[in-house]
Symmetry: C2
Subunit: 350 residues, 2 copies
């Protein structure tokens, strides 16, 4: 049955309205686990692939052809708006984002100019191509949050513990807030471009913010994520907020203004519901590593996530982090249908 995207189970769950079944999508569903993705990407550097509208559209749509997932997520990378705003950054295979000149002084800040919609013409072009094929399933836009973006800029690349980031956060609050303020501006612009083009929801990824305590989150992070969510409020689309290892700050991530808080696999959803408090939906949180186990294990764990998700005011089923590269796509297809069947009145949505 065809429904307007606004009445899709995904958007209804985000708005904490009744749904016929628990909607499902997977972080990194568009990407490295799909053979057709690896074919399309062969020989094309990551950040180049994120600036070619046809490639963005194709990769975004690939999982939609395989899975009955309830939403698409734009194929992009959290470094895309930074590169578009003039930051020298590349994504090296097997490593991750590598920044030419780390940002550690106020002089370095000068390299971070605001992002203009004209800097990312490929985004609205790609969104229009996607929407033309997507039918009644909504498209989720996304961006990286200031803490996580700052961690790459400050460390110069991926790091296990983001120690240099926290050292700057503690030691130079003036520079820290100036940096996060600029990153928030860039993030707001990037998300507004996506929403204006037709994204029906947005997800703000603060992947590494679990590295800070709640008190530091409140002082050093919350003002910037709050400003981003506030700037997006008028757009009227659900705002999802996710990070890894964020058990200590789930309540503050909700307080920042997210409509939907994503939890990783460490905190069960019934406990996450208590931490985020009333008026919030949850997203998550099957451990992506569980998808490498036998099906009976996956089934038991996925069913547990669905059951605990019922204690939230709204629940979007997802993994607790991105799909691992070695995941079998057939398992994701089967998992999607399992969640629909376990949560719905009449099995697989028809």
């Amino acid at each position: 049955m065809a429904v307007h995207p606004r009445d899709s189970p995904f958007l209804r769950a985000c708005r904490r309205e009744p749904v016929p079944y628990t909607p499902v999508w997977f972080m990194r569903q568009a990407g490295r686990s799909l053979p057709e993705y690896r074919r399309v990407r062969a020989g094309v550097p990551m950040l180049e692939s994120c600036t070619r509208p046809d490639m963005i559209a194709e990769i975004t749509l690939q999982p939609m052809r395989r899975y009955h997932v309830d939403a698409a997520i734009l194929f992009s990378d959290i470094m895309v708006p930074l590169r578009a705003a003039g930051v020298g950054v590349d994504i090296k295979p097997g490593i991750g984002p590598v920044v030419d000149d780390p940002v550690r002084t106020s002089a370095d800040l000068a390299r971070l100019r605001p992002l203009d919609a004209g800097d990312v013409p490929y985004i609205p072009q790609a969104v229009r191509m996607i929407l033309a094929e997507l039918g009644d399933r909504p498209l989720i836009g996304f961006a990286g949050a200031p803490f996580t973006l700052a961690s790459y800029l400050i460390e110069g690349g991926p790091s296990r513990n983001h120690d240099t980031t926290r050292a700057l956060m503690y030691g130079d609050p003036g520079l820290w807030h100036a940096l996060l303020g600029r990153l928030a501006d860039i993030t707001i612009s990037f998300l507004q471009v996506q929403v204006a083009a037709g994204a029906a929801a947005i997800q703000l990824f603060d992947s590494w913010v679990g590295a800070v305590s709640a008190e530091d989150y409140r002082q050093a992070v919350l003002p910037h994520t709050s400003r981003i969510f506030a700037a997006l409020a008028a757009a009227g689309v659900p705002r999802i907020h996710f990070g890894v290892g964020t058990g200590e700050v789930l309540g503050l991530m909700a307080e920042a203004g997210a409509d939907v808080v994503g939890a990783d696999w460490r905190v069960p959803l019934d406990e996450a519901a208590r931490r985020v408090g009333p008026g919030k939906a949850l997203q998550g949180n099957l451990d992506p590593a569980a998808l490498l186990a036998p099906w009976e294990v996956i089934k038991e764990r996925a069913t547990d996530v669905v059951e605990r998700g019922r204690t939230a005011e709204g629940h979007v089923f997802n993994l607790g982090h991105g799909v691992l590269p070695e995941t079998d796509p057939a398992v994701l297809a089967r998992l999607t249908d399992l969640v629909h069947a376990e949560s719905g009145l009449s099995g697989r949505p028809g």
Copy 2:
């Protein structure tokens, strides 16, 4: 004033007895941040340095000459007992432990034989050399816990999220428990050797166990750490248990039988005290990254840790993880004295 080590502030705090001031030591105080350590280690591979009694003793004692810390920690590595028990493993500079043949099948288990005291003769030799010079400050022995050791064996080396480890934990409980059981046996033997030689306390490092949920910890990890702590009970030395990002499992780490639970910087000590419950002391938890900030910031944060530590039944001041390589030793010296002065009745212990 000279005291018997058993009456030292460190051991008294571990036993939750009154102390004249909050005792201090630092994880990785013996190691990479000290120029004299880098000189001694020049040209000597890490695991070789851990098998030479004179080198172990010298490196263990180096920080004791610089700082008024209240305990020494044996210079070793969590891979030492595994290598002594026949595992092909090396520690590569800038990378970490690299295992020749990852353990992923029951056939691989055959390579893990029990550890005999005769496999590590350099440990009692080094401990005796250390105790001869250490005076009234106690020596802490240590070992890696089964989950963390298993993560290196299964992944084949360091990894960000230990995904393959959790996949095996979920997917093959039989192999998982057999592996952790053998690792627990090795760990027990290694700790018993240290205690028999004169270590006055032991710390069990489960550095990466924060990667699992509380429910999985209870099923897959707790039985093995409990057995280790139970096996050490008769020795009568305080048992410290520490991991990074363990906010969700602090209570279970206490339940496993630790006398002292170490917390990283994400959970304030007053909150950690609530999570571990009565009958436990705490260790921690100044963020090591804070030591790269200006002194006023360090002072404020360290004082806050001391104050929150007063809510615990016993408190050993430490960092929330190991000393970072770029830390200025002069800062650690000043921090040690600050904690003594802030927490004591009469300033620096004389």
